[in-house]
Symmetry: C2
Subunit: 112 residues, 2 copies
DNA sequence: AACTTATGCATAAGAAAATTATGTATATAT
DNA sequence: ATATATACATAATTTTCTTATGCATAAGTT
């Protein structure tokens, strides 16, 4: 994960997108899912994840539901209505960001 | 620039890439170039740029050359040999990051 | 002549978001 | 028995940025 610096600022968007796909997830599940879909490329640390989840909840973008499974507690998070709208915005911004960075990597202004 | 958070961590890569393209540039020129190629989407602030340039120089990735133009001082930065190698690495990492984020935005793991 | 905007560099204070290091606790595999 | 996996949490520190400020010259405006 040598490119971990680039992920700074995109954690919230990743969380929101995963919740949009999976309806509800708990913290540990999110770390595993990200590890899986990025083939180990990205490992979300707990010290980043849990504060981020708490903040998204405080902003009213996520709802929480506790559930006990195998005598272990899970905190399931799901998008609120506000969270669903915000997710769309964040994804649009991410797409814009990616387009901009593509422009910088692969500049038209240097070919001719 | 509503997506400014996403740019966290990518400023160094942007600087290095521009210097790879343009051989040598000075700080103010970099801010204008970025504004130009991103069509105003991204505005690099001086408070971020100058410390970043100083750090890249301290790391041995950039060399500095002072030049006086129209009675105003410019600090021209150019890649060192080490900087050129590091730029290649950073760009590879950026491409990996973009691929990963594309995977998250447009997940294969949810279609079937 | 006075004033504003552009050019050019720099740093300090503060905020935001991460890493790293802990801490607690149960379940499972060796 | 011991280590690894599961599950959450927070505190200290670091990194990186924004915002505010400072200095100085050139060019354009009223």
């Amino acid at each position: 994960m040598g490119n971990s610096k680039l992920y700074k600022g995109s954690l919230n968007t990743i969380i929101l997108k995963l919740l949009e796909e999976s309806d509800k997830m708990y913290g540990y599940e999110i770390t595993q899912k990200v590890k899986e879909i990025t083939k180990g490329e990205l490992n979300i640390t707990e010290g980043a994840l849990y504060p981020a989840l708490h903040k998204l909840e405080a902003e009213g973008l996520l709802d929480v539901e506790m559930q006990k499974v195998d005598n272990r507690l899970r905190k399931y998070y799901k998008l609120t209505e506000k969270g669903t709208k915000e997710t769309a915005n964040r994804l649009t911004e991410l797409e814009e960001y990616i387009r901009t960075m593509q422009t910088i990597i692969n500049p038209k202004w240097s070919i001719s």
